[in-house]
């Protein structure tokens, strides 16, 4: 038998070396896939902000019956398995589904839509908590000074902007690192919907470990860079 096991460390090191070469030499495929990942998940995050921000502020700011229940549901949904959500959105975007006539399946838009839904719970929960943490006297003060409901919200948002930024960054991190939705809704089509996570899965399946390792390193770098940013913001607070 060829000694696969004995060479394991050698193989990993060799893979790492080649992977770093790929990154340093600015391999065009690697760059394209990386940029596409950032573009798709970044757009998904912005899309999700559109509804998560007003929703999160409303939940954080207002008192209404069942508020704790709503919050606990969003908290629970933070951990939704990406393949489960991917399957649900697939059924919606499929030709026989509710939005089938839009022909969105297997396109970057489909991934953006799916990832935007995926990170909605995490964004809403974080934003709501950030808003709740704001001293309630600020709202009262604003209202006393003649501020409208909307103006009071803006004042609260201004006070909680670090927490909101934290929510957005966490959402982006979850989106760019997920595989299930990108694979099921994008299909990993070369040059179009192939992103970091789907390429890692695909190339591992094909036995091309070098490129898979290179892309894993890049993904790790992106996620840790964003996490570091989060920590810096936390410390500033």
């Amino acid at each position: 038998m060829r000694p696969i096991g004995e060479n394991m460390f050698g193989e990993i090191l060799e893979g790492l070396r080649k992977a770093i070469e790929l990154i340093i030499s600015v391999d065009p495929t690697v760059v394209q896939i990386t940029l596409r990942s950032i573009y798709i998940s970044g757009t998904a995050t912005l899309l999700s902000v559109l509804w998560s921000l007003p929703f999160g502020i409303t939940i954080g700011l207002r008192r209404f019956p069942g508020k704790n229940f709503v919050k606990s549901i969003f908290n629970a949904l933070i951990g939704v398995p990406t393949v489960a959500l991917g399957l649900v959105v697939y059924l919606i975007l499929s030709k026989q589904g509710l939005l089938g006539s839009l022909h969105l399946l297997y396109s970057p838009l489909a991934i953006m839509f799916g990832q935007a839904l995926l990170i909605t719970p995490i964004m809403v929960s974080f934003i709501a908590s950030a808003v709740e943490a704001v001293d309630p006297q600020i709202i009262d003060l604003a209202k006393t000074l003649g501020a409208s409901e909307l103006e009071a919200s803006v004042a609260v948002l201004n006070e909680s902007k670090d927490g909101v930024l934290l929510a957005i960054i966490s959402g982006f991190n979850r989106a760019i690192a997920e595989l299930g939705i990108a694979l099921m809704l994008g299909g990993s089509i070369v040059g179009w919907t192939r992103v970091l996570t789907t390429t890692i899965a695909l190339e591992t399946g094909r036995g091309n470990l070098t490129i898979a390792i290179a892309l894993s390193i890049i993904l790790l770098l992106i996620v840790s860079a964003v996490s570091t940013l989060t920590n810096l913001i936390r410390r500033r607070r």
């Binding site: 038998m1 060829r2 696969i4 499929s94 030709k95 026989q96 089938g100 006539s101 022909h103 399946l105 297997y106 299909g187 990993s188 089509i189 070369v190 040059g191 179009w192 695909l202 591992t204 399946g205 094909r206 036995g207 470990l209």
Partner: protein, 299 residues
């Protein structure tokens, strides 16, 4: 970067064709000639067919004749063409505890059951409803074993994974499995596995790949014309040549053999009889009622 200005053709395909890299080669050549963007969605044959039935793919490239016949009969498919063939192979550890090397597939599987029940060998099944899994079930049935019965035995392990992953699991367990030759060669040559080809000949191991367009009357928005273009390209001299040449540089042999000339010129009578018995429906690769007027494909 892909734009919407070109026509789009979504092809759901078996992993065994995709993972070898053959489809990348076909895409490059096809897109040079046709103003169509090929989008391959790589899944097992079972899921590839489900996608097509739901209208989410315009065409399928698969290798499970029994499932293909059903697909045609239920009205989902048109213009089926057999594009290539090769042989499945039973691979296992070099020590070959069941001593199956050189046996027929029936004898080999019978011995694996025997030795497996003694606790001296394991079998890894794809377990994912793929074309290879379908073949595996047929092979057990051929020696009068029911797969649901085998599933309960502890030497029989279901991976529920693609071919590459299944080969790696087989390697880890020093077990036996059924593999398509293309994926096996790729993994072997890249030193990812040490498993050895033990049985690779005989009619039961025949593996036939077909292309089928999705019926446009069922799903009006599918790109039927694009699918017919790709089918014509695959059976053209250029397409068949690409299939034949693929792998020769890397592995010193073809991963798949082109089927069109073989079936037309009737050179190898035994092989043709095997393909007809295994992959023809009522004596046709595609019965006339499913030609949809494209009789030029079947001269």
């Amino acid at each position: 970067m892909q734009t919407f200005s070109r026509d789009r053709l979504v092809v759901s395909t078996t992993t065994s064709l995709f993972d070898t890299g053959l489809l990348d080669e076909i895409e490059t050549h096809f897109e040079k000639t046709y103003p169509i963007n090929l989008n391959f969605i790589s899944v097992g044959t079972g899921l590839a067919i489900t996608f097509a039935e739901r209208g989410d793919a315009d065409m399928i490239l698969v290798h499970a004749p029994s499932k293909e016949f059903q697909f045609l009969a239920e009205g989902y498919g048109l213009c089926r063409k057999i594009i290539a063939y090769n042989f499945f192979t039973i691979v296992g550890p070099e020590t070959d505890p069941a001593e199956i090397e050189g046996l027929s597939s029936e004898e080999a599987l019978t011995k694996i059951i025997e030795v497996g029940r003694n606790g001296e060998a394991k079998w890894i099944s794809r377990g994912d409803d793929s074309g290879t899994h379908t073949k595996e079930k047929e092979l057990w049935t051929a020696i009068s074993f029911d797969i649901t019965m085998l599933q309960a035995e502890n030497w029989y392990i279901e991976a529920g994974a693609g071919m590459g992953k299944t080969l790696q699991i087989t390697e880890e367990h020093s077990a036996y499995t059924l593999a398509d030759m293309g994926t096996y060669l790729k993994y072997y040559h890249e030193n990812l596995i040490t498993l050895k080809v033990l049985v690779s000949q005989g009619q039961p191991l025949l593996n036939v790949y077909s292309a089928i367009a999705v019926n446009k009357t069922l799903h009006p928005s599918t790109n039927f014309d694009g699918a017919v273009s790709l089918i014509k390209f695959l059976v053209s001299e250029e397409g068949q040549q690409i299939i034949n040449n693929y792998g020769q540089e890397m592995y010193g042999r073809s991963l798949l053999y082109p089927a069109v000339e073989l079936l037309e010129e009737e050179t190898d009578q035994m092989l043709i009889r095997w393909i007809r018995e295994y992959a023809f429906l009522n004596g046709y690769e595609c019965p006339p009622q499913y030609h949809d007027g494209h009789h030029e494909l079947y001269n």
